[in-house]
Each structure stands twice: as C-alpha cells, then as structure tokens.
Amino acid sequence: MKFVANVDFNGGQLRPLDQTDVDTIVKIYQKQTLAGQSTTASTEHAERMITLSVQMAATQRGLMWAMEVDGQMLGMLSLYDWQPTSLKTLMRLDVLPEITQVHQVEALRAGIDYLVKKYHLRNFSFHCLPMGDEAMISIVEQVGFIQQARLRDYRRISQTEFSDILVFNKIIESVSETGHKGESE
C-alpha cells in the first residue's frame, strides 16, 4: 500500500523516499540541525529514515517527501507532529545548495495544497533558528507563513547551550485559499 503520494509542482515533484535516495539523504544531513544529532549522518541513519518515512505516514504521525527537480533529488519536505484531530502539523525543509529558492517555494506550496485537500490540514508551522535559517525564513514567508512567536531557549544545541526558536504559522481558513496542482499516484 502506498502511503506517500507523488505531488507535482512547477519544475519538479514531491515523491516518496526510496532506497536510491540514501546517498542524497546523507549529503543533506551533513550539518547538525537537531539536538542529539551527530555532526555527520551515516548510511545506516538514512536507511532507517526511509523505513521510518513509511511508518510515520501509515500512522499519520508524519510524512517525508523527496523533492525532485529534473529527475534529481535535491531536498526533503517533511511533516512532524502531525495531529489529525487538531488538523495541524509542524513542517521541515532540508535541501542541498543546488536547489533554487523558486523550486523550494513551489514545492512547499504544492505540498501544503495537497495536505489541505487530502487530509484537511489547516494549521501549518515551521520552527526556524534566528541565526542561520535566513534562507528558509525567506521561503516560508513567500508562501504566506507569519512569525507568531520567538520561543526563548526552546532548543538545546549543546549540553549547556540553548537557542531561541522562531515559530511561523500559516492558517488555511478555507480550501479555496489553495491552488491545488493535483497528485499523480
């Protein structure tokens, strides 16, 4: 059974992760972005992530898409803390330097449109670091996300250090707000 759909966007597509993505996933996760993450991701971690991407989608806890442009995987668009009852989710964008901002914006828009239509999600959020996430902040703002909070020392970045987190939200008040591109199974 297929739990993650293919979703087209202008210039590329979102698709499920598969075993051929291992090397790209390792490349994407070379910088430390999460507490507890080792500085370099390994093949074993990437394989585990692919397995997890299916499990989390099957249980509607999350979802991971590969972002593909010209047949090449250049990033990932993911959902965490997916709460079907509250119709909300926390999103995450991890990309290689080769992908353009335009493609990221298009991919994010298409992903949200799909999630609104398919799962009726209406509350999307991003957590960004105040320093170092400027590119991502620019992208989410172009898609209509608005900063609603700055959570002080919310994320641990070392044994003794913490970083603030900027919370961006996009609330979909009605389905007509989206411009759904359609999915291809």
Binding site: S86, R122, Q148, L151, F162, V167, I171
Partner: protein
C-alpha cells in the same frame, strides 16, 4: 527526592485516594476550568479517571501534578502541574487550576516559586512555559508580574466548542534575571 512541597501557607502535595472529591470539586467548577478551556466535570467518576491519568503520566515521567491544600482550613484550593516534560530541551509546561478566591498574586507567587524551585533545582529544567488564553486577564497579568516573558502566540492550537483557540506563550528561564533575583529573595514578587 521529595516531590511533596511545603510552603508557608500550603501543602503542595501529590493526590491520594481520598482526594477524588477534592479533584471533582475543583475541576467541576466552571470558574476554574473555563480558561483552559475545558468543560467542567459533571460526575465524580471523571475525577477518578483524572486521578488515574495523573498517576500514569507521572510514572511515565511525562508530567507531575500537585494538589494545594491550605494549611489553615485543610481545603484543597488548587491543582498545579508541570506537563509535557521534555528532557532533551529541559523544559516543561506549567499549568494551574485554582479557585478564583485564590487566584491572587500573593497565593500564586508562593506556589509557583515552590514548583519552579523544584523544576530548576531538582529536575534540572531550564525553561518553564505557561500557555494562557488572552482572555484570562488575571493570569496574564500575574505571569507578567512574576517576570514571565511573553514569547508570542501559538495560533489555532486546539478546537473547543467549534472555535479555534490561540494560546499566548509565556516563559521563565532558569537563567532569567528575574528568577535569579527570586532565588536571592526566596520568592517571586508578591505585590
């Protein structure tokens, strides 16, 4: 580690079997729960279920709940909790259910100081969050008076009776000057 706290005027203690009527009286009161927001309990069996959940969440290290017993009267006047313990980011969410007569700065300064001291000193937490409704002017004003920082809002956090609820997020860090001053003063501002 002793989870039961003893302040000047209150026993801040874990619940026991005899507390079911106390929990029911507290959480069956609309004035207590309306700002969470939540509907009041309507039968005592709900209090029994709530007591079980309190124990289960504590055993799972997800939360800790205290009932506040007034020393002079023996009356249970509030329930305090630290919920959603995040042991990686060293944070927890504070919550208070309190009868309106006790929803005052002098009472809550005593209670919050006791719980925050345990959180920072015994549990090594770094951040205490307090989610409040904007319409709960009393607690919003008290949070500010105690030195909690308004971090912003979490939009459409949950749905209650057909409406989407926004939470205002307040935080108090162990490293905040206001907390360090509270440690020196042995208490939060009382007025």
């Amino acid at each position: 580690m002793n989870w039961n706290l003893n302040t000047e005027h209150y026993y801040v203690r874990f619940a026991h079997e005899e507390d079911i009527p106390n929990i029911y009286a507290l959480l069956g009161s609309n004035e207590v729960v309306k700002n969470h927001p939540k509907n009041p309990m309507v039968v005592e069996a709900q209090a029994m279920d709530e007591a079980r959940r309190m124990v289960m969440q504590f055993e799972a290290k997800e939360a800790a709940f205290w009932l506040v017993e007034e020393k002079s009267t023996g009356k249970v006047v509030a329930r305090l909790s630290l919920q959603k313990f995040n042991w990686v980011s060293a944070s927890a969410q504070f919550r208070v259910d309190v009868f309106s007569d006790y929803k005052t700065q002098s009472v809550l300064s005593e209670l919050i100081y006791a719980v925050a001291t345990l959180a920072y000193e015994d549990l090594s937490l770094h951040r205490i969050e307090w989610f409040l409704l904007e319409s709960d002017h009393c607690l919003v004003d008290l949070a500010k008076a105690f030195g909690f920082n308004h971090d912003g809002q979490l939009m459409n956090f949950l749905e209650f009776e057909g409406s989407w609820i926004d939470y205002q997020v307040f935080s108090l860090l162990k490293t905040d000057d206001v907390w360090q001053q509270a440690v020196i003063n042995q208490g939060l501002p009382e007025s």
